[in-house]
Symmetry: C2
Amino acid sequence: LASKAGAFSATLFPGDGVGPEISSAVKQMIEAAKVPVTWDEQHINKTVDPRTNSMVTRENLDSVLKHKVGLKGPMATPIGKGFRSLNLTLRKELELYANVRPCFSLPGYKTRYDNVNLVTVRENTEGEYSGLEHEVITRKASSRVAEFAFKYAKDNNRQKVSAVHKANIMKKADGLFLECCREVAAKYPDITYDELIVDNACMQLVRDPGQFDVMLMPNLYGDIISDLCAGLIGGLGLTPSANVGMHGLCLGEAVHGTAPDIAGKDMANPTALALSACMMLRHVGHVDAADNIQQAVLAVIAEGKYRTRDLGGNASTSDFTKAVIDKLS
Amino acid sequence: LASKAGAFSATLFPGDGVGPEISSAVKQMIEAAKVPVTWDEQHINKTVDPRTNSMVTRENLDSVLKHKVGLKGPMATPIGKGFRSLNLTLRKELELYANVRPCFSLPGYKTRYDNVNLVTVRENTEGEYSGLEHEVITRKASSRVAEFAFKYAKDNNRQKVSAVHKANIMKKADGLFLECCREVAAKYPDITYDELIVDNACMQLVRDPGQFDVMLMPNLYGDIISDLCAGLIGGLGLTPSANVGMHGLCLGEAVHGTAPDIAGKDMANPTALALSACMMLRHVGHVDAADNIQQAVLAVIAEGKYRTRDLGGNASTSDFTKAVIDKLS
Ligand SMILES: CC(C)[C@H](C(=O)O)[C@@H](O)C(=O)O
Ligand SMILES: CC(C)[C@H](C(=O)O)[C@@H](O)C(=O)O
């Protein structure tokens, strides 16, 4: 089970709530897969760093910039004025412009849908998320996320990219987004390209998600649709996510909440973080290790003996982790 | 089957594509239910009326203002610069501030979900739809649509209103919307009130739509979520809609497309328009007739013998309509 790629270092934000437990679980899985990684563990401040105007410190950001890759547990932004979302601060300050969320039906874990196998690619820096509460959409950000989506499709043997928009209403902003998508699509003649209005996209998703492959969209629609897709296959506890930026930056991220009610109780499901770690591992070339970990995680869920509570089982985080590690060694 | 309420007049926009066929079908059903209505048939211009800056003419608008109630088939806005959406022009110019879409699982018509029974109430005049491509949200529009939703809940024996928002990001706009919802909620202590972030709302909807009752939201989220909900029960061909405004204005509206491929072929399903007509009939007090028509339509679908193609059958529009009328007489 040795990896082909070499040793590397990575930032680890264990995060809040169940974050430390699932981070520890995932570190053990990665170790069992014999990945030669050195972790730089980073913690978010309890007070605002004036240099970043956030509880995310300059050191936190510099760690990711230095290692280029990282993994992030859920973080709880304190409620109240003056607190920028920690998740968004990381995405924005590091200019992690593409949020990538593969979403697929888990073998053996039954939901109403059994044929989901799609990837949402979400513009991660602008739109209504610009801080201006306007839909700010630029050519630069739209083109680079579109480039990312088509290249991702090509590299991952995906056949189709569907752009999601509301250009019939947001003629300027979403119109520009579509224009950029079309320009990039023209450079990838082997990949089918189509467009859907966001309301119709949601209706189609709940009727027949099997028709989708890669979905490409502005920030807000991506936020909504990626959660909808997670719902189709069982929830955010199961779906990985990676934030990708320039210069090879990649931050894997579990996008579920901190689940304070079960924090510290050895009950949380580490699947989303584990699969996010696999995305990070593939990014640095540890493809075999990523495949092995992913297969082991999916096999444990499929077998059903060691499922955590969110999946209807009564395995602890440790039971589940041990079962995954047993498969890896 | 005579109605308690009296004679009235109403505007009818047959609309484009399949609009005229399904309008004619629905007129026949209403006649069979012995509703004493006089229709004022209105057609949209083929050129822009300078008084309205739209193909919707001053006469079109005045007709609705005069009769106060109306029914509208699907309309096709020509593609290209300078054409405002006809649907939106009607909503906006008539200040039809609440879009109401009941969405329920149809007895006997199987989808992945069998327990949907909710109503989306959508702010219908502002948000990103303001024409400014900003999320323009005002106290006035938010309060009146919230008032509408709670009163609707009370009048229709609904237990809960769930406000949908993204106030963690759109702190100002969606924050104001929530503030207005909370103020109104305080006046309705018998109705449960809760709030969901829009991404989570979509995830919850696909996992367990049975948890929702009345959903209240700004324009864009309402656009997205109402289509998502329609998808849960079989599509826009089955879901009614009404646009409600001040001074008793109510415009029932089929929100599906014009389906040009089957236009004129006696193949379209008039269900969405028929159920929208029922909303209009209830609005003017013809509650018994509305209930009768709705029951007849649902019974024909449930029995399965006369289903149109979109529902997997091979009944024509006329077959279906005749079957409904047979039940009414
Ligand atoms: C936590 C929140 C700010 C975030 C977002 O809106 O992007 C989350 O919903 C997500 O999708 O990662
Ligand atoms: C046709 C379109 C402009 C309209 C909207 O966006 O409101 C439609 O999607 C709807 O929901 O009625």
